[in-house]
Amino acid sequence: MLSRTADHLYWMARYIERAENMARMLEVTYRMSMVHNAAQSEAGLWVPLLRIADNYDEFIAAYDEISARNVLYHIALDEKNPSSIYSCLRAARDNAHAVRVAMSSEMWENINSLWLEFQQLDKRHLLESGLSEFCDWVKSRSHLFRGVTYGTMLRDDGFRFTRLGSFIERADDMARLLDVKYHLLLPSANDVGGAVDYYEWSALLRSASAYEAYLKVYRDAVTPLRVAELLVLRQDMPRSLHACMNELTTILDQLNGETGNECKRQAGEMHSRLHYGRMENIFRSGLHEFLEAFLMHNNRLGMEIQRTYLNAPKVDEPELMMDFKW
């Protein structure tokens, strides 16, 4: 298929997925803010959210105060913030608009009406009391789009590039979420079992739609190690890193053409880390270090996909020579 078409489909899916994950993170932080915690300042609660999206510095430059309202506005609605939910949905719709012929008409109508609905939202209500409602709306529109994609799109490379975008993005978002939350939560891990701690861990699980799954799988207290295991290594958990890598390796194998060997190699290497990894070992050498390496590898895989398929150079450009230690 046309490289540009694949590029738009891939980024359309990435932006939808990113919007969904921003909504998940926003909601979990919002819920945490409702649990009274004397040790936690308001800024301390919201800063990690800004760090996840890599836009702490921009935020500090643009706003005079780290308040709930400012952060909510920045993450949900700020047109100047390229990773706000507003910007993600707009970019998703723009990408879809550019290649509407490459998808089913139901998909196009779905994403177009998503964008039209978003513009109709009562923004002030959202900031004052409608945040949960808004986050639910973003999530359910994302689910709907995924569903209509899965249910109506021809199983050609267009479908595969769309899914590729979703899972590269999901892996990235999940790893960031875990990394930042562990930073925040682990200092108090020695008093596992405290009420606040329980709420925060379970909020993290809920943000990944993993709370009920956790209970089903472990039938036991919420502990950091198990939370990490569930979200990193369990392949039956659809938002875990392992599940994302399962999808990515499968999709890359199905793509037509002979040019993707380096992509497949990189994805396979990442996959085996997760497939054969043990949480105890990862914890021993540091979860943060592991997640950081995963993020770099995932990023490199994204660039390799971009180079091989989506930019499709006329002449062979050398592959990117980068390597990171795990």
């Binding site: 298929m1 046309l2 490289s3 540009r4 078409t5 694949a6 723009d94 608009h97 550019a98 290649v99 509407r100 012929v101 008409s105 196009w108 109508e109 177009n112 009406s113 039209l116 490379d157 590039f161 793509l255 037509n256 053409g257 002979e258 040019t259 398929y309 989506l310 499709a312 006329k314």
Partner: protein, 478 residues
């Protein structure tokens, strides 16, 4: 109860549905009966449904000069334009006849120029900006230059049709013919049982067959693509729609490149050869090496491959010289010269302001005439004398005097009106008609057209960029 009796409304022109002496015309009789059973609120609701559906599907167009990416809906009118079988036969025969002659004219102009030697078309045509010397002596497959043509036709009386304009470059609007039909079937399924309406849905397949048939010699299974200037072009929806309906790639200039005298597109599996390009981008922007050097939309080297026969462009380069308003006046003679036939459709009498006698007359009668730029389109840069103020006329006079050769003038035609849903009810509004003529092995036209309607009372400007709307056009089979 809704009605097309037009109570208390004065008809200023021939009306498609109604005659003040004879009442409702026979083609509209079943419609009028059906309409009598509807109330105005129901009809208005259908109209709102249609708008909602169009917006959801994203059938929008961008307007030049507005914020980049701004999207507007073209108003859709729920009352169809209905043409009887014999009316259509005359229109379609006439349109095909014109396009045949125009293709022969282009082939002649870019080869032996017999028509100039015969003294029918003046040699000055070779200095027309739209004449492309690059095409002189180049053979194109089948001698076809205008594979797709949109002929703008207006009606002034029961049996009087005029061709306003031949669009031979990148005519647009066919998606509205198709989408309006779909919308009408969705909104008013019961109406389709009352009328033997000719189908139009096969247009994309017919177009694809035509495009495949004009592939370079020796290519048995050609790769056809549709080339668009991009998502911000005013007709982007149509480009996307047609590509999808034909199942071909929608490409932009950046997706293609030239190598070893062939055109390729960049795909996820590597470069793929392109044989036929249905291009919806003007000559000027198609190849920065051949025309506008600063065009970011084109493919460097494309024209050179084209001239060598390595790829087919539809429409051909250089068709603009034949739909120019100063060439228009010669079309009836072209028909006689190439086909030995009498023109079925008339031209509108046209004054050339570059000629002294014509200019004198026009400047004395500006308040009665329509003045257009020779290469203008989209309803921009024109003066409609009878509906303009004194000041507007005087301002336009100065523009004409600055460059008279750039203008032509025509009498203001009383365009026919057609019942149209407006705020006050169903009222007559002026319309035109653009059937789409396809040329390949044969010259054909699907039985339908883009019908444009001036939504403002009394207005004669139907262009969408000037607030015009569209209607479904029904051609009856009997």
């Amino acid at each position: 109860m809704a009605t097309i009796q037009y109570q208390n409304q004065k008809l200023s022109a021939f009306d498609e549905s109604f005659d003040s002496q004879l009442g409702v015309r026979s083609v509209y009789a079943p419609y009028a009966d059906w309409l009598a059973g509807m109330d105005f609120a129901q009809l208005a609701q259908k109209s709102r449904d249609a708008e909602l559906l169009f917006r959801r599907v994203g059938i929008t167009f961008a307007v030049y000069g507005e914020e980049a990416g701004a999207e507007r809906l073209i108003p859709f009118d729920v009352v169809p334009r209905i043409l009887a079988a014999d009316e259509w036969k005359k229109l379609s025969d006439g349109a095909c006849q014109r396009v045949k002659a125009l293709n022969m004219f282009l082939n002649d102009l870019y080869h032996g120029q017999e028509i100039i030697k015969a003294g029918i078309v003046p040699e000055s045509i070779l200095t027309n900006e739209m004449y492309r010397p690059e095409m002189q002596g180049v053979d194109v497959p089948g001698g076809i230059y205008a594979h797709i043509a949109g002929i703008d036709i207006v009606r002034t009386a029961a049996d009087t049709f005029y061709v306003l304009e031949d669009n031979l470059r990148t005519p647009s609007g066919v998606s509205y013919m198709l989408e309006n039909r779909r919308m009408m079937m969705r909104l008013f399924p019961d109406l389709f049982r009352h009328y033997p309406i000719s189908p139009v849905e096969h247009y994309p397949q017919l177009l694809l067959e035509n495009l495949r048939a004009c592939a370079p010699r020796g290519v048995s299974d050609p790769t056809v693509v549709l080339m668009t200037p991009g998502a911000y072009n005013s007709a982007y929806f149509e480009h996307a729609f047609l590509a999808q309906q034909m199942g071909i790639e929608l490409v932009e200039g950046q997706d293609m490149f030239v190598k070893d005298d062939a055109v390729y597109m960049r795909t996820t599996e590597g470069p793929k050869r392109v044989d036929v390009i249905y291009r919806r981008i003007d000559d000027d922007f198609i190849d920065p090496l051949a025309f506008k050097a600063d065009s970011m939309l084109g493919v460097p080297g494309l024209v050179s491959v084209y001239r060598n026969g390595g790829v087919t462009l539809a429409n051909a380069i250089g068709t603009g010289v034949a739909d120019d308003k100063s060439t228009y006046i010669h079309v009836p003679e072209m028909i006689r010269f190439y086909l030995g036939e009498e023109p079925i459709l008339s031209n509108v009498p046209t004054y050339k302001l570059g000629e002294e006698d014509d200019r004198k007359y026009v400047l004395e009668h500006l308040a009665e005439l329509v003045v257009k730029e020779v290469q203008g389109s989209g309803g921009y840069g024109m003066l409609v004398g009878p509906t303009s103020s004194k000041a507007e006329i005087e301002e336009f006079r100065l523009r004409i005097l600055a460059n008279p050769g750039n203008y032509i003038a025509q009498p203001t035609l009383a365009l026919s009106s057609c019942p149209t849903l407006v705020e006050q009810g169903v009222a007559p509004r002026h319309v035109d008609l653009r059937p789409f003529v396809l040329s390949g092995k044969t010259t054909t036209v699907v039985p339908g057209a883009l019908c444009r309607v001036a939504m403002r009372e009394g207005s004669l400007v139907v262009n969408s960029s000037q607030g015009g709307g569209t209607k479904d056009t029904w051609v009856l089979q009997c």
